[in-house]
Each structure stands twice: as structure tokens, then as C-alpha cells.
Symmetry: C2
Subunit: 97 residues, 2 copies
DNA sequence: TAAAAATACTCCATAGGTATTTTAT
DNA sequence: ATAAAATACCTATGGAGTATTTTTA
């Protein structure tokens, strides 16, 4: 019923998918590489899915499951931000009415 | 850039909006009423928005901002769940291929 | 006075960090 | 030899709980 992840996990997966490099992704997210590594592993373990192939060497690749996940994750993040923006806009309307 | 809330907050707002009663909503969320009360306040404070009118008495009402927020929050939660479902489906495809 | 939300406080789980190891170029 | 990811461990923040107070219908 309740998703076993938080927005921070979605954000993490999306950025890693864009960078295909944990170290750079961690910088963008303002967290350390081990923390990011753990977050991704957490998402995969908790939900029984494999999002990235990183078995062979240091090259990080999206799996098919990862690609599907990222697309929806982007939408979720987008709507979450819109929720705040629209609520702010509605509040401001009241202020200037 | 990064939303100052997590999915649990979105879930909390959505359920309170449906119940219009913090105690019942808390039950549905499997948390206590004070915890829920605090979560909602947190969302409002951190983002400078007012989602519920609960100044007068014990009647809880959605504000305009709240209504806008809830709609997007539902979408965000929906996409988050779909992210997991689709990823699982993609994984299973591989297994049965 | 009863029912519901808010407040005060306490505590523990866990998110995040540092240090290190492993691995593949 | 280097660059990047994983692992181990530790700490501190804050998420969640219990107890209590406030409020109004």
C-alpha cells in the first residue's frame, strides 16, 4: 500500500541514471558516494528490483527495469514539486485578492 | 531544487484530506495522532503554505492551497508506485524470457 | 464534559558521514 | 597506479511514541 521508498530515493536513482557515475551523481546530490551507493542498494533490496548493472567493472548501466523506473520517478518528482508550487500560488492569490 | 518533503508527507496530507479528521487519518496511516499532526505542520512550515483550516474548533477543512496540493500529491504517489510496479514487471520479463 | 487537535518531552532508528577495501583499467 | 564502487563502522539528527494540555461543540 505505502511505497517502501521516499522522494530522496527517486531523486538518487534519477541522477545516477543521468550521470552513470556514482561519484559525480553524489556531488550533484550534495551527499557522499558511499551514502548514495547505499541508497540505491536500499531501493533495489527493499523492492526486489535491479536498477543498475554494475557487476562488470566501474561502468554503470541502466537495466530495462531501471529505465522503466526512472521514467515514472521523474513524473513523481515533477508532481511533488508542482504540489508545492500550486499550493504556494493558491496561497498568494489569497494574499493579493 | 529538491522538494523539502518526502512521500510520507504527501501520503499524510492525502489521507487527512480524505478523512478530515486527524485521529481517523492517523489510524489509517498506522501512526499516532500527534505524529500525524506534526507531519502536517512540518509540510506547512517548511514550504510556507497552509493546507488545512483548523483554527476554529475541531472541524478540519481543506484550504484552496490544500486542494491544489492534494491533487498533485495523489499523482506523485501514483507515479512512485508505478515506478516500482513497472520495474518489477521488467525484471520478471527477464526471468521468464 | 467529551472528543479531537496541539504541545512537550523522550528515545531510538536510521540517514548520513569517515575510513577503508576491493576491483578493474 | 588510479579511479570508482562497495563495505564497515560510527554518530547525530529527527521521526515516532507517550503523556498531557488546550479547545470547542
Amino acid at each position: 500500500m505505502f511505497p517502501k521508498i521516499e522522494l530522496r530515493h527517486l531523486q538518487a536513482v534519477v541522477v545516477v541514471a543521468e550521470e552513470l557515475n556514482f561519484t559525480r551523481a553524489a556531488h550533484r546530490l550534495h551527499i557522499t558516494q558511499p551514502t548514495l551507493s547505499f541508497q540505491i542498494t536500499e531501493v533495489e533490496k527493499l523492492n526486489g528490483i535491479q536498477l543498475f548493472d554494475r557487476g562488470k567493472g566501474r561502468e554503470v548501466k541502466l537495466t530495462d527495469a531501471g529505465r522503466a523506473f526512472v521514467e515514472e520517478a521523474r513524473s513523481a518528482l515533477c508532481h511533488a514539486e508542482r504540489a508545492i508550487h500550486l499550493a504556494r500560488a493558491a496561497s498568494d492569490d489569497c494574499g493579493t485578492r
